[in-house]
Amino acid sequence: MAQIADYLTAVFLVIGGFFGVVGSFGLIKLGDSMSRLHAPTKATTLGVGGVLIASLLHSYAIEGYLSVHELMITLFLFLTAPITALFIAKAHIHRHREDYDLPETGDDTCWAVLEKEEVVAEPLPDSLEDMKPTE
């Protein structure tokens, strides 16, 4: 039993390390900015997932206790990686794209990232109204 757990841990460690390298290699190899977003957010998350499964197996089968920290880290990483990717993609659209090379949104609203913000000054409260400088 311990032998099987040993082999499984080793296999997950190798898988995790391989996908970690694939993610970073894609980051330096792929052509443009939006394809580069794919490699770290998917392959690296898979690599870290492999390492966390290996750690879970190791602590359960060899050290002899079940640890739930790995599950917490896995959950946190799997929740935050897509959010990070979305934010970086939004920043990329904001900085490098114009209205004319984005596809239609399908209804009468425009792309939220490219919406121009209108600054509306709030009216002063009554007590401060007298202190306003007059022209």
Partner: protein
Amino acid sequence: MIETALTFAFGCFGLAMLMNLWKIITAEGVGDRVLALDTMVINSIAILVLMGISEGTEIFFEATMIIAMLGFVSTVAYARFMLRGNIIE
């Protein structure tokens, strides 16, 4: 068996961190730099978990959680800064 796999995984993630550092240095835009920094944070989480396996202790997990949270918050802050020019509106 497991020591060999651990050494392999350590080498892989070290190589991955070197590639990220290379990307941070040579990136042509600030978005790529933020992405490389985020990947570096995730790789450092993996290295800390590997150290926890090789030492056989649980003491690295708190550090791992803190690095994961700080990495996420800092990446979101950088992205907000690129998007809006300020972080807290």
